[in-house]
C-alpha cells in the first residue's frame, strides 16, 4: 500500500490578493487581476497589461535586511511559504526535519537582479557588481532560503521547466513523500516576470497579448484571444503524508493522487500540433491515480489565451476523454490571474484543490464569443457549484514540457 499524500497548507502572493483565502475568494467571484503595467516603461512595447502586484512590501513579512538581499521572485516565494506554513499549522518544534524538504521552482529566477547588475557592470565597471548578484539571481535560491528559514534538511531541489515548473515541483514533491523520502514538503513556484528584458523578449516572440484593455486582454477559449498575459507572484503548498497529517489533526484541503510528466520532443516553443505530449501526460496522471478517465469531473486548464494553446489543449482533452469530454468542465483561472509562468502550476493546483474542497468550479472570465475550435464547457464567466471527486490540472511549457497533476476531494 503506497503512502498517501495530502495538501495541508497553501500560501499565495498574487495580484488577486495575499493568502490562499483572499485569492480563492477572488477567483470564485471571477475577479480580474490584470491591470496596466506600471513597473516598467511599456511605451515601446506591444504588451501594455499584466497581472502586476501593486505596492508589494516584503518587509511587512520578512526581515528588512534579508528582503534587500532577495530578488523580487524570492521575496514572493518566501512570503507565500510563510503564509502556507502558517496556514498548515505545522508545529515546527515536533517535526523530524531530516524528513522535511523543499521543491520550489521558478521559470527565470532573479531576472530583475541580472538586469540591474548588468547595468552596474556597464556603467561602473566589473568591480562594482554586487557580491549578492549571484545568490539573488539564481533560480534555486528560493528553495535554499525556505529550507534555511524552517531548518528543513531533507530533499531539496529547484525545478525549472518554464511554464510547467509549478506542476513539476508539486508532482516531484508528491513522489518524494510517496516513496518515503520525506513526510512533509514545501512546494510550488515563484515568478517576477515584469521586467524590461522579459517583456522585450516575450514581445519579440509575439507570444503576449497586444490588447491594451486590462478587462478583455486575457480571454482563454474566446475567438478574440491574442496571446498570454504575464503575471507575477508565488504559490506555495504544504504537502504531507496522510498519517502524518491525521496524527497532528491537520486540516486537509485535498489529496494528491496522480502525476504525469512528458515532453513533446517536437519544437522549442510551439506545442505538438496534435498535442501528443499533453495526451500522454494526462493519461500518465490518470493511470498514476488508478482511476478511469470518466471519474474526472474538472480540469484546470493550462488555458493561456494564446491562439495555439487553447484549441490544442481542447483537442488533447478530447483525445484523452473521448465522449466524456462533453461532460466535464475545464476552466482557465489564468483569465483572472494572468500567466504566472513558473508559479502557474502551483497557483492553479491551489485553485483546483479549493474547487474540490468547496465543490465549486472557478470560471473562465472574458468569454464573450467562444471559439468553435475550443468547444468545451469552460465554465464561462460565472463559477458554479459542482461536487466533483477527481480533478486534473495541466501545465505546458516552452521546451515542450507537459505536466499534469491529479487531485482528489479528501473524504
Amino acid at each position: 500500500m503506497s503512502r498517501r499524500v495530502v495538501i495541508t497548507g497553501a500560501g499565495v502572493v498574487s495580484s488577486l490578493g495575499m493568502g490562499a483565502e483572499q485569492f480563492w475568494g477572488a477567483v470564485k467571484e471571477g475577479k480580474n487581476g490584470i491591470s496596466e503595467v506600471t513597473r516598467i516603461d511599456v511605451s515601446n512595447l506591444s504588451t501594455k497589461v499584466a497581472a502586476e502586484i501593486k505596492d508589494f512590501d516584503a518587509s511587512q513579512y520578512i526581515d528588512k535586511k534579508e528582503a534587500r538581499r532577495m530578488d523580487r521572485y524570492n521575496q514572493f516565494a518566501m512570503v507565500a511559504a510563510k503564509m502556507a506554513v502558517e496556514n498548515s499549522k505545522l508545529d515546527l518544534e515536533s517535526l523530524d526535519l531530516d524528513k522535511c524538504g523543499v521543491i520550489v521552482g521558478s521559470g527565470v529566477g532573479g531576472l530583475e537582479t541580472l538586469e540591474e547588475q548588468h547595468d552596474v557592470m556597464r556603467n561602473k565597471g566589473v568591480g562594482r557588481v554586487s557580491p549578492f548578484f549571484i545568490p539573488m539571481m539564481i533560480s534555486n535560491m528560493a528553495a535554499g532560503r525556505i529550507a534555511i528559514e524552517y531548518g528543513f534538511r531533507g530533499f531539496n531541489e529547484c525545478v525549472v521547466t518554464a511554464c510547467a515548473t509549478g506542476n513539476n515541483a508539486i508532482g516531484d514533491a508528491f513522489k518524494v513523500i510517496e516513496r518515503g523520502d520525506a513526510d512533509v514538503m514545501i512546494t510550488g513556484g515563484a515568478e517576477a516576470c515584469i521586467t524590461i528584458m522579459s517583456f522585450a523578449g516575450f514581445c519579440s516572440m509575439g507570444a503576449m497579448t497586444k490588447n491594451p484593455d486590462p478587462n478583455t486582454a486575457c480571454r482563454p477559449f474566446d475567438k478574440d484571444r491574442d496571446g498570454f498575459i504575464p503575471g507575477e507572484g508565488a504559490a506555495i503548498l504544504i504537502i504531507e503524508e496522510l498519517e502524518h497529517a491525521i496524527k497532528r489533526g491537520a486540516d486537509i484541503i485535498a489529496e494528491v493522487v496522480g502525476y504525469g510528466c512528458t515532453c513533446d520532443a517536437y519544437h522549442i516553443t510551439a506545442p505538438h500540433p496534435e498535442g501528443d505530449g499533453g495526451v500522454r501526460s494526462m493519461n500518465m496522471a490518470i493511470n498514476d491515480a488508478g482511476i478511469k478517465p470518466e471519474q474526472v469531473g474538472y480540469i484546470n486548464a493550462h488555458g493561456t489565451s494564446t491562439p495555439l494553446n487553447d484549441p490544442t489543449e481542447v483537442n488533447i482533452v478530447k483525445r484523452v476523454f473521448g465522449d466524456h469530454a462533453k461532460n466535464l468542465a475545464m476552466s482557465s483561472t489564468k483569465s483572472m490571474t494572468g500567466h504566472l509562468l513558473g508559479a502557474a502550476g502551483a497557483i492553479e493546483a491551489i485553485a483546483t484543490a479549493m474547487a474540490l474542497k468547496e465543490g465549486f468550479l472557478p470560471p473562465t472570465i472574458n468569454v464573450q464569443n467562444q471559439d468553435p475550435e475550443c468547444d468545451i464547457d469552460c465554465v464561462p464567466n460565472v463559477g458554479r457549484k459542482a461536487d466533483i471527486k477527481y480533478a486534473l490540472s495541466n501545465s505546458l511549457g516552452f521546451g515542450g514540457h507537459n505536466a499534469t497533476l491529479c487531485l482528489k476531494k479528501y473524504e
Binding site: D63, K64, K65, P131, F132, P135
Partner: protein
C-alpha cells in the same frame, strides 16, 4: 563627518539601529554581518568616499573604527 556617513551606510545595508553602532563595533560580531555583507559595505564606502580600497587593506577593516580611520587617512 566621516563617522556619521559610515553609520548611515551601515544602517542602510545591515539593517541595524544607528544607536547600536559605535567606533568599536565589529561588523561580524556586533552588527551581524557575514562575509558578503562586508564586501558590499566596502563597495558602498568606496562609492561614497570616491576611493579604491585594495583587497589586502579591505581585509584589515573589521570594525567601524577601522573603516573610519582608513577613510580619514586616504581621502
Amino acid at each position: 563627518m566621516v563617522f556619521d556617513k559610515v553609520k548611515k551606510l551601515i544602517v542602510e545595508q545591515l539593517g541595524v539601529e544607528e544607536d547600536d553602532i559605535a567606533m568599536e563595533s565589529s561588523f561580524i560580531d556586533d552588527l551581524g554581518a557575514d562575509s558578503l555583507d562586508i564586501v558590499e559595505l566596502i563597495m558602498a564606502l568606496e562609492e561614497e568616499f570616491n576611493l579604491e580600497i585594495p583587497d589586502n587593506e579591505a581585509e584589515k577593516i573589521t570594525t567601524v573604527g577601522d573603516a573610519v580611520e582608513y577613510i580619514q587617512k586616504n581621502t
